[in-house]
Symmetry: C2
Subunit: 230 residues, 2 copies
């Protein structure tokens, strides 16, 4: 009788080994640990209407009431264009990145001068709506305007946590389900691994609200279960 055994070969990397890694290797390694990351373009402009566009993989949900979203601003000079513009105007847009334009989104991370707009340099199109002096990315099928609420300095590593309130959402209508869920896989939104890995997704299931000693139920992504069905 053959006994099938799964052998998992776990490698231990301790504190001293992490510290001793060359900087670039440690950046790759540590960036892989948090799991799959969101892929978003943050678009801004200054008071002279000079636009800026930058890729962020750290956008994180903070709460629904009020509708708050955060992201991490690194101390690099490059990303200061984004922050300076946000401080100048008080607004920015967050635009989900999809399969269709993830290469252009990645290219926005090149070090362009402050007189160049990443929109032009990467062939993405700015798009405006009445009442908001921030550009959106036309190619993005899920994007929203955000009003700056708070900048929290993180002294541990000289980064900043930027928090804003979501004030205006634009989304491809077919993907919006009646219970509020947005099928971002149908929008072909990508996710990021490490510093430079891009992935599309393949749905497993939606699961209902967990209760002690009750078996979980599956919901298909095409089910439109409404807001009162659980």
């Amino acid at each position: 009788m053959l006994i099938k055994e799964i052998v998992i070969n776990l490698k231990h990397v301790d504190f001293n080994e992490i510290k001793a890694m060359p900087d670039r290797k440690r950046a790759m390694f540590i960036n892989s640990l948090s799991g799959f990351k969101s892929a978003n373009l943050i678009a801004t402009q200054n008071k002279q209407a000079q636009t800026n566009l930058a890729m962020f993989s750290s956008v994180v949900h903070l709460g629904a009431s009020p509708a708050l979203v955060g992201f991490i601003m690194r101390p690099d000079n490059d990303q200061r264009h984004t922050l300076n513009n946000i401080i100048e105007t008080g607004y920015y847009s967050i635009n989900q990145v999809s399969c269709e334009f993830y290469r252009q989104a990645h290219q926005t991370s090149a070090r362009y001068s402050k007189h160049q707009s990443e929109f032009e340099e990467t062939n993405l199109s700015p798009f405006y709506i009445d009442g908001f002096n921030v550009p959106f990315v036309k190619e993005s099928q899920l994007k929203y305007a955000v009003k700056l609420q708070q900048i929290m300095p993180i002294s541990l590593n000289n980064t900043q946590f930027i928090i804003g309130e979501i004030v205006h959402v634009m989304c491809e209508e077919e993907a919006m389900k009646s219970d509020g869920y947005i099928d971002i896989e149908a929008l072909e939104t990508v996710s990021v691994s490490g510093l430079d890995g891009y992935h599309r997704t393949q749905s497993l299931t939606r699961l209902n609200y967990a209760k002690p000693n009750v078996e979980l139920k599956n919901y298909s992504f095409s089910d439109d279960r409404g807001i009162n069905n659980e």
Copy 2:
């Protein structure tokens, strides 16, 4: 001649419409906006060695030097077990969730009493290593011990941003590439959409470091390009 035209039907949802949504629907909706989220189990124990295990989709990379990771703690009573334990011992573990056990991971969000351990209730196995009085999730193929560094209260919505330093990593060795990148897709790590959607991934490509006016190069996930190849 047939002209193919892609019509994107963007629906606008403004600030007042967001505020007017029923709470549960707004939670579903706003949770969908940040993009794909990481899926991690955070494991802790108190001084009496009572364990706790909770699912988080807000773990975010903060920096590689020092190696810092953050996550959002909501004000719900349930999650206080995790925070209380972290404060008591100063340590916690973060465990990437894979296809193999994402249902059990989701089930940890049920409201168990403080005398029940989610490990037992969901059939996941605690695992210990010398020198750390925190449990890890045995089933996870990428997990690490974290030392609490800072708790930042976010007064805007009564949440807290918990920041810790990564002190010890355990990872399936095959997935670790020589440039530091970890192939988390090979580990079948899942990602989360909204409040309750689970997804596996399908790799597109890795892209090299972007430079102005230089075309991006693809790297396959099985390439092991080393740390000096760019």
